[in-house]
């Protein structure tokens, strides 16, 4: 089980607000899973490289040039708040 402070710290890093009930719930759940994954420590991996799954013929360099998305208004339709072709946010600076 994780401590309340540990859960709050992770939530802060993950930018998640949690209710009191959720804090308790995640103390239990995260604690259980972290205990379970401890089993990996039994494996010696000092000489093991990390996995590679990307096909060898996949990655290739290309010219770095911007490709404008055609319709900005179309994108702004999904915005929670917008004004004059821009996303609207609460004031950041005083």
């Amino acid at each position: 089980m994780l401590s309340r402070d540990e859960v709050l710290k992770i939530a802060r890093l993950a930018k998640l607000s949690l209710t009191e009930k959720e804090i308790e719930f995640y103390q239990q759940r995260l604690g259980r899973i972290l205990t379970y994954v401890e089993e990996l420590n039994a494996l010696a991996t000092a000489d093991t490289s990390v996995v590679r799954t990307i096909p060898k013929d996949a990655v290739a360099f290309r010219e770095d040039r911007p490709i404008p998305f055609g319709d900005v208004r179309e994108l702004l339709k999904n915005a929670p708040a917008s004004e004059a072709d821009s996303f609207l946010l609460p004031q950041v600076m005083e």
């Binding site: 859960v7 939530a11 993950a14 998640l16 379970y36 991996t45 093991t48 990390v50 998305f69 999904n78």
Partner: protein, 496 residues
């Protein structure tokens, strides 16, 4: 005519013989969705006018029917795959009302091949789950027995095909999310090799594991959909540039010659703890492979027992990074009246994501945080390599590896929600293929005493989907029609 039971191959033949038209098929399927999906809840969105317009448009191109390998074939799309003008919610409150401004590469390819978009299907929120009970909208029910889950996370896609609403659907598979629901719904489901299908336009869960693939009622149909949707499209740097084989070309009598003398690897120690009826059905299926002339060989996969731990560190770490984009700024849910920018982020995310998604984001954040990265994410990616090496060694001794797809048949809705680790264990046979990047296919092998379907998984070497399809095709021919399949019943869609 009962279109609910027709496979893609039947539709293509019927269109060629002018027995029926794409509009008639689309209209009939949309009507059955309207009448019967209230109980199953496989679809999150249908737009009959858009689908029927597309059907009429394709009919005008009937002279090109030979050049359009999916001419007039309606396909349901999981709601974490983008299609212009359609919603793409990932079954999450945080993306409620989000409308896709562009189309995923794999769907674009299907549409170019003549496919019609039938609707968007339900899933576990952000594809995180094994039962579709984590959907932020409602759980989907299994058409074989409606008190059971359809599996997940592509449970809506599986249920739609099993109910007879669609001949095929697309799912995504990060740890088994195509194969496990295919197994639980008596369907064929394919997780292609990592890098076979473009991930452009998929709502990312774990970028090093995610692949999109088909769910269908036959092996031939799955091969046809995959050969149309796969391949490099210029927008995903992890896709292979190699030519996509025409998988269906070899799915005929010649396949029986190819399959004879192939070696099928079986890892007996992996079968411990499997439901006895599943095990019996799996062993009977292996007997059928032997009848086809295949030779069983014992293989060792010593590190697959660590797949679950490895998966939960890799997938959650990548998810915590991928899901950082949902911040209430550019799209999606925003909390009302935030007091400042940080409050906007935290409350939009806290209120917008469901409990399982928050759990995984936090687990991933923890695994990636300072001081823990090497111990968790780094370690997990090394164990992943060990698992990959296990498969490399096994494929020295065999051509395909067979296992059950899921350790149990479809469980009851609500049965496993309270214990995440038990739920996670339903993916033990499917996780390793994602971790190793290899392809896997699930084929139905029969039903248990409760008349619920059982699936066998075949895994292959990287980019060797062809062999998987040929073995699965021959097996399917040998097996014959599945008894009691809901899409074939008189009350298709309603289940038992």
């Amino acid at each position: 005519m009962d279109f609910n039971r027709l496979e893609i191959l039947d539709l293509l033949e019927g269109y060629q013989r002018k027995e029926f038209s794409p509009s008639e098929v689309a209209q009939s399927l949309l009507t059955s969705i309207e009448k019967k999906d209230g109980e199953i809840r496989s679809f999150l969105q249908v737009r009959p006018d858009v689908t029927l317009d597309a059907a009429r448009a394709i009919e005008k191109r009937s002279s090109e029917i030979q050049k359009l390998p999916l001419y007039g074939v309606p396909i349901a799309i999981k709601d974490n795959i983008l299609v212009t003008g359609w919603q793409a919610t990932a079954a999450s409150k945080i993306l409620k009302n989000y409308v896709a401004p562009f189309t995923a590469m794999c769907v674009e390819r299907l549409e170019s091949a003549g496919a019609l978009i039938l609707g968007k299907t339900n899933l576990d929120e952000f594809a995180m789950g094994s039962s579709t009970e984590n959907s932020g909208v409602a759980p989907t029910r299994n058409p074989w027995k409606t008190d059971r889950v359809p599996g997940g996370s592509s449970g809506g896609s599986a249920a739609a095909v099993a109910a007879g609403f669609a001949p095929a659907s697309l799912g995504t598979d990060t740890g088994g999310s195509i194969r496990q629901p295919a197994s639980l719904c008596g369907l064929v489901g394919v997780k292609p090799t990592y890098g076979r299908v473009s991930r452009f336009g998929l709502i990312a869960f774990a970028s090093s594991l995610d692949q999109a693939g088909p769910l269908t009622r036959s092996v031939w149909d799955a091969a046809r959909v995959l050969e149309c949707m796969a391949g490099y499209g210029g927008k995903d740097a992890t896709v292979s540039r190699s030519v996509v084989p025409k998988y269906t070309e070899n799915l005929n009598e010649s396949a029986f010659g190819t399959v004879r003398n192939l070696r099928v690897g079986i890892c007996t120690s992996w079968l411990e703890g499997v439901d006895p009826e599943v095990r019996t059905a799996f062993e009977a299926a292996v007997e059928k492979l032997k009848e086809l002339g295949m030779r069983p060989v014992e293989v060792e996969l010593p590190n697959v027992k660590y797949a679950l731990s490895t998966y939960y560190l890799v997938a959650t770490s990548e998810a915590s990074s991928n899901l950082a984009r949902f911040d209430g700024v550019h799209y999606g849910y925003r909390t009302p009246n935030p007091k400042d920018l940080d409050d906007l982020y935290c409350r939009s995310r806290g209120e917008g994501f469901g409990p399982e998604v928050k759990l995984r984001i936090m687990l991933g954040t923890y695994a990636l945080s300072a001081g823990y990265y090497d111990a968790y994410y780094g370690k997990a990616n090394q164990v992943r390599r060990l698992i990959q090496q296990d498969f490399e060694a096994a494929f020295e001794k065999c051509d395909v590896i067979a296992s059950p797809t899921s350790p149990t048949t479809a469980f009851k809705i609500g049965e496993k929600v309270s214990d995440p680790l038990t739920m996670y264990l339903s993916d033990i046979f499917t996780l390793p293929a994602n971790l190793a990047g290899i392809p896997g296919i699930s084929v139905p092998v029969g039903v248990d005493s409760a008349k619920l379907p059982i699936g066998m998984q075949l895994m292959g070497r990287h980019f060797d989907e062809s062999t998987l399809f040929q073995v699965a095709y021959c097996y399917e021919r040998r097996r014959g029609a599945l008894a009691n399949a809901p899409w074939r019943g008189s009350k298709s869609g309603a289940g038992a």
